[in-house]
Subunit: 336 residues, 4 copies
Amino acid sequence: MIVAGATGFAGALAAHLLWRHPQFELVAVTARSELGRPLCALYPRYRVPLALELLEPERLAGIDAAVVAYPHAAAAPTVGELRERGIRVVDLSADFRLRSLANYEQWYGEHPRADLLGEAVYGLTELHREAIAGADIVANPGCYPTAALLALAPLARAGLIADLVIDAKQGISGAGRVFDETTHLSMAGENIVPYKVAAHRHTPEIEEQLALLAPAAGDRHKPLAVQFQAHLVPLDEGELASCYVTTTRPVGAAELRELYTRAYAHEPFVELLLSGPPGVLEVRETNYCRVFAAADAHTGKVIAFGAIDNLWKGTSSQAVQNLNVMFGLPETAGLQ
Amino acid sequence: MIVAGATGFAGALAAHLLWRHPQFELVAVTARSELGRPLCALYPRYRVPLALELLEPERLAGIDAAVVAYPHAAAAPTVGELRERGIRVVDLSADFRLRSLANYEQWYGEHPRADLLGEAVYGLTELHREAIAGADIVANPGCYPTAALLALAPLARAGLIADLVIDAKQGISGAGRVFDETTHLSMAGENIVPYKVAAHRHTPEIEEQLALLAPAAGDRHKPLAVQFQAHLVPLDEGELASCYVTTTRPVGAAELRELYTRAYAHEPFVELLLSGPPGVLEVRETNYCRVFAAADAHTGKVIAFGAIDNLWKGTSSQAVQNLNVMFGLPETAGLQ
Amino acid sequence: MIVAGATGFAGALAAHLLWRHPQFELVAVTARSELGRPLCALYPRYRVPLALELLEPERLAGIDAAVVAYPHAAAAPTVGELRERGIRVVDLSADFRLRSLANYEQWYGEHPRADLLGEAVYGLTELHREAIAGADIVANPGCYPTAALLALAPLARAGLIADLVIDAKQGISGAGRVFDETTHLSMAGENIVPYKVAAHRHTPEIEEQLALLAPAAGDRHKPLAVQFQAHLVPLDEGELASCYVTTTRPVGAAELRELYTRAYAHEPFVELLLSGPPGVLEVRETNYCRVFAAADAHTGKVIAFGAIDNLWKGTSSQAVQNLNVMFGLPETAGLQ
Amino acid sequence: MIVAGATGFAGALAAHLLWRHPQFELVAVTARSELGRPLCALYPRYRVPLALELLEPERLAGIDAAVVAYPHAAAAPTVGELRERGIRVVDLSADFRLRSLANYEQWYGEHPRADLLGEAVYGLTELHREAIAGADIVANPGCYPTAALLALAPLARAGLIADLVIDAKQGISGAGRVFDETTHLSMAGENIVPYKVAAHRHTPEIEEQLALLAPAAGDRHKPLAVQFQAHLVPLDEGELASCYVTTTRPVGAAELRELYTRAYAHEPFVELLLSGPPGVLEVRETNYCRVFAAADAHTGKVIAFGAIDNLWKGTSSQAVQNLNVMFGLPETAGLQ
């Protein structure tokens, strides 16, 4: 097992989780800078003593899996190269999340390895567990789609979503190892900041997946346009998706409870709340997603919340969950 | 001038602002506890040396105005008593915000002084400036309605709101001088917490005011049911209302800009942004509201943001703004 | 294994660590309030499903160990009762930390079970490992003494401390599950607050332990009066002791390095830094203590830093470390 | 009035305070980057509409004063040039704070304008008010020296300081508009970080000023070596100096109170506390320094605390206080 791109928040956490994993063996962490430094010098909390090295695919004999934590567009060529050497990959970038090449090109530009799009499986474990088990390329979901789709999947499967607003809030770690006004404590610390108004790239990812969940073929052809808005709030790790659903028909509390219980009663990492909404602190540094849904008699809408740790279930621990599935291990291995 | 109920966050800040006000003279701060202690012992930042005393209306000769900072239901009798002694009141509670007694009873219970409802003016200064000038009882708005209504008023006046979701986020000061799990730094500090799901009392206040703004009489009879949801995020002061508007007809960027510019070009305390949304830090400890609106071509919706300091424009500095209007002073006196 | 007093921060974390411990079996969590509620309802992060119950010592057949997390003076009688039933106890309170009854009475008042003082072992694992292994009552150290003593032990053993100032900083979790001005985010959040000036009860604990470490018998008879000062700073978990040592003779960098390396080279939970001081985030939610010492050529003093998580190594994970030692398990069991 | 170097935190705040000042007229803000942008685009909270421009001294006819907010070594040449054009300067850098050129060279390197050293006055207003009134170059103190010297001056003047440890804590704004690991909320937010161990450049500044305050000439020749240590803690603005004084003779509570009361009874910006130490929130965004001193009967030492806002009294508002003194205005003008 290797982690390619371990200097960013996502790659470093993936390395940490794999280093302490009882079954996987992390043998290398790669980067394009900080070469030779042990990862624990950059991330003291993670205590991974491996030194950062350049990724040299030709030296990867014996490696069976990799987590790739590169920016979009940079990831796809490396994923392809690893794949061609027989290495199974969980890709943390957006490069293989969208099924539609047109969607990718509209939101991200040209795709470096469009030929591999059909091969990749969307790695929201709870939604695509079986396909992930057999996949060679798993496209780890965005953090916002993870929280939103787990909150919405029971409604989507029942064909109940007529219109949808998602208002998401995330801690500053969501901005990554980026040093600017967005992350400076004096500027971000007592602030609430909406960003990418009407333009967040997680939108098509949510729309595609909701369409796939919808029951009728007809729905898939004209996917719902989702109103998605992200905000940064002053904490480190944590993310909440508040989803406001105009339903296709009236939905009451009893039906809601049944839909959600049926969906999540046996999920090891989804904690369904019945009496009130979750706070993100409840899932901090875990792979859990907490979900709560309520019917609003006043408006007729359904409100559904999904709370995760954006770096864990939203990124790196879900990557490990997917690797567990890919390699036939207990899904919770190394995650509890 | 007196502040009745000065031990809470709202009353204490009102006292601070009035103490340093160039034209008003604050002569007493009252409370039911901490009697005899100078207010600055409880709130060192505010440096108001007046000692807390019991409110004894019979001793208020010569007082011409009061800010009442009591909880709802407790406020109305005192407001009434002060009013009967000829004292003009800005009431920070919810007791006189709703025009409809039925609405009040549904959300708050029995009204202690329903007889005064018709006399009170809703104190969102920018919307009701003229009525406030002549009012004896001004019902200071809730903080969420302040941010939301300023973000939405131009759309409401144009009859453009067909459906509405408001997702609001607020700092912990919004919970007030309350000591529990909600405000403990170890529990609130790295958290995002939705509260009062489908049940926040600011909902009818927003609905009533939007109905009043609507152009056609018909609209007022069947007011829009607003989906309003509040969240606590880990900062002290600051509040953002993110408003998602399904419009009655397509609205483009140019029309939006014109509507908002016309509404706010001459408002001293509304800062209209044109290039991007506000962060709440930009208005911290000020009476400003920053507003931004955008049309989303993808969904057809309009997104409007209102950012305020929940304790300032959301509560106490707006009370001072109203007092300025009531007493014929420059509206910005003591607020810049 | 039981945890008595599991509703406070320390007891709840001890329960969490023991619940997930690979060798110990946590069978009960007790409290005087919240009876019948699962601990995970109070502390969702800890996911301990056991319901809180009253401590009824007569029903404890088969229990071989307990963590007692009561306030001082309340703890001693329960510790005694458990001890008399053959249960080995780690006591998180101050009741058995001081060897000198006179010291206890001066700082805490009358001792409810002074007869047991001689039996208790001071549970700073790194300093008293062998005695802990055979002890029936282990007095878990205060968090400040833990950080300070680990930073200072190599100097103390070498008889190098002539005078000592300890300036300690701690996150708000150090105030515990207490709801008041000290912990309210709006009051604590942008604050730095010294407390208990010249009066902190951890002072005699540090003084006694430093005297025990000193090489010459003479030193023990007239222990050093330590200047200890605590501060609350706005984070959740984390604690730093900055120790300023006037030395009995000049000490250079090489000697310092040798003293500290010799002391800590083989300690599993002490991370000795050589190039710069630790930040507390590096040890958050771990049982590690990070130590750094430097000689200041300008003043001739030595500065030593100890960084811990006040709730973990400072309290509950050190309790587990001690339990591991008491029951002959690997010292790191359940702590990595 | 101009502010040279207005893009950093200190210069921007100085511009804000001068822009709203009732007597001074701020006519220009200069910088080497962001030219043409209004300062309020960079610092929305400050609402200074002036556009940033290059400093062109030849165009400064009619300007009588400047605040220079450059890094050390960069400041001195500009200060000299402005001085030569008859402009009185408050310099926020370290370039003119030290009286001893040898000290400067040891801690900062070569001095670009050593010829002006003798002309500059150290701008801790409370200590050098009279000299400041007549000065053309005022060297605004470092933030740590401001807090520490105000806490210590009464003891220093009485010749009571035999040995001294200063442990200082500061919010992240102290790191300035610097974007790196030090200021990223995810790295700084739940952290306490000591920095510049045994090497902080504010040390000689404190030592020189304490020597100047000492009563006997002899003391001045062999200044005390001060143990000064700085820490970053996770808030925005705020700074506390905790000073531990070994006294030259026993000092009791009554004498302490008399010394401090005599020193500060008439100071408009020093708030002497008598019953307990200050928290930094009490002085946030003010020019106040709160001071508290206590005698520790246990150790015989005196503990003195100074709490300020590092950007206000620690930097920019003290610059305005000095300008008020230099131009014969009420010392509190524009600062209350």
